[in-house]
Subunit: 218 residues, 2 copies
DNA sequence: ACTTTTTTTTAGACTTGACTAAAAATTAAA
DNA sequence: TTTAATTTTTAGTCAAGTCTAAAAAAAAGT
């Protein structure tokens, strides 16, 4: 069995491993979890003893296969609950994360199996993130940041990188959500800003916005 | 804010207060919560400082109005989640309690408001227990134990006292659930056993069974 | 290569919520 | 009303998970 704290460490290390494409440093974990490096060292050593991750002093950590599976399962639960909150309880997509942070720790395999069925086994959460299957496997789709697209490129929004309330509410205001088709009308070399078309509207967006929107171009 | 441990104490003290119709002793809390009396003393003193209950050394405790409200809210959440699990996720009534024990601690007023609506604001949980409203008020219905009924009495099952898996599965086997009409065909003075009619079946039940079924007789 | 800075770990302390063992208060029995 | 049994509280310990401060290792700068 795993404590709530252990599950949160595993989940965050999982995400950081993907971001860094390799070992995760103590400081990186501390910063992500808003805790102190000394606390991280303690927990990382404990999780290493449980063989959830491999750790050598001063060298950073990597999840073991069982650690990765455990982490993926927490993420699976988080994202399934987010779907539930949006699809069934009619929450907005910027409201669900904090509640899912709590719900992801509920322990019951049967509950998750039933919830998954109840939701028609969704593949993606409300932010476009893929939901790992029960074995911890994630089907990766080829997507790119809007900021990497060129003038006249077309695509459909399939996810967001940032998931802060502020960003999501900005997107709502601009009527951009998962599945929205858009086209790059112009791109400014100097600052990376763009003019894009969404439905019949066309408007300016900053580089920061473009760097946080995932687009699929088929 | 309240910790998970504090919420569990408040909830159990609430139930014990009803059972005892008055002050709850340290030992009673300890036994109910499967912990030691010394641990209870510690927590009770802490909750008294938070003004959730009134406590005088050696005299037992009583919830304050805010303690009672807090406890009722935890119970409201527990029972709403039980309804969700049975009605939406198709769990059996004997499977839901342990999961609800976890879900009852999820913190989000909006979640509970939405869940309540999603479930059509149910008044009773799958075991026939009333769901407190958001202010902590419980509408009490006049119900009695089947064991208190006399020969030829008729009524409808509105709740169970015991909620162990074993008991609930026994009731399933006998096709007794909330809403089931039944009639007392015979009652043995010596041991309190009965013969009852349920639908077209008639069968023997022990006193122990009769003492754990709530009946409403109109 | 040596010094400085940064990162990481260790050592020691704190809080929560549990425990055991012993003391104190209450209740029951004689 | 003493004594005995029971209940309750206190005192001291422990594990989990956090923190600060200091030591040690690694990385960067000169
Ligand atoms: Mn989320
Ligand atoms: Mn998400
Ligand atoms: Mn229950
Ligand atoms: Mn119930």
């Amino acid at each position: 069995m795993f404590t709530l704290a252990e599950e949160n460490y595993l989940k965050n290390i999982y995400h950081l491993e993907h971001e860094f494409q390799g070992e995760v440093s103590t400081n990186a974990i501390a910063e992500r979890m808003e805790t102190k490096p000394s606390s991280v060292t303690d927990m990382v050593q404990k999780l290493a003893e449980k063989e959830m991750l491999s750790y050598k002093k001063y060298k950073g950590t990597l999840l073991t296969p069982s650690g990765r599976k455990k982490a993926a399962n927490v993420i699976r639960k988080h994202r399934l609950w987010e779907v539930f909150l949006v699809e069934k309880l009619k929450f907005q997509w910027d409201e669900v994360h904090d509640i899912a942070e709590q719900l992801e720790h509920i322990q019951s395999d049967k509950l998750i199996t039933r919830l998954d069925k109840f939701l028609d086994s969704p593949d993606f959460d409300p932010h476009g993130d893929p939901i790992p299957d029960k074995h911890g496997n994630v089907k990766s789709t080829e997507k790119r940041l809007l900021s990497e697209m060129e003038k006249n490129g077309r695509g459909v929004c399939v996810g967001v990188k940032e998931t802060t309330k502020e960003f999501l509410q900005y997107l709502d205001k601009r009527k951009i959500s998962i599945g929205t088709k858009l086209k790059v009308l112009g791109k400014e070399f100097f600052d990376g800003s763009m003019v894009i078309q969404v439905g019949n509207d066309q408007f300016f967006i900053s580089k920061k916005i473009a760097e946080n929107l995932y687009i699929q171009t088929n």
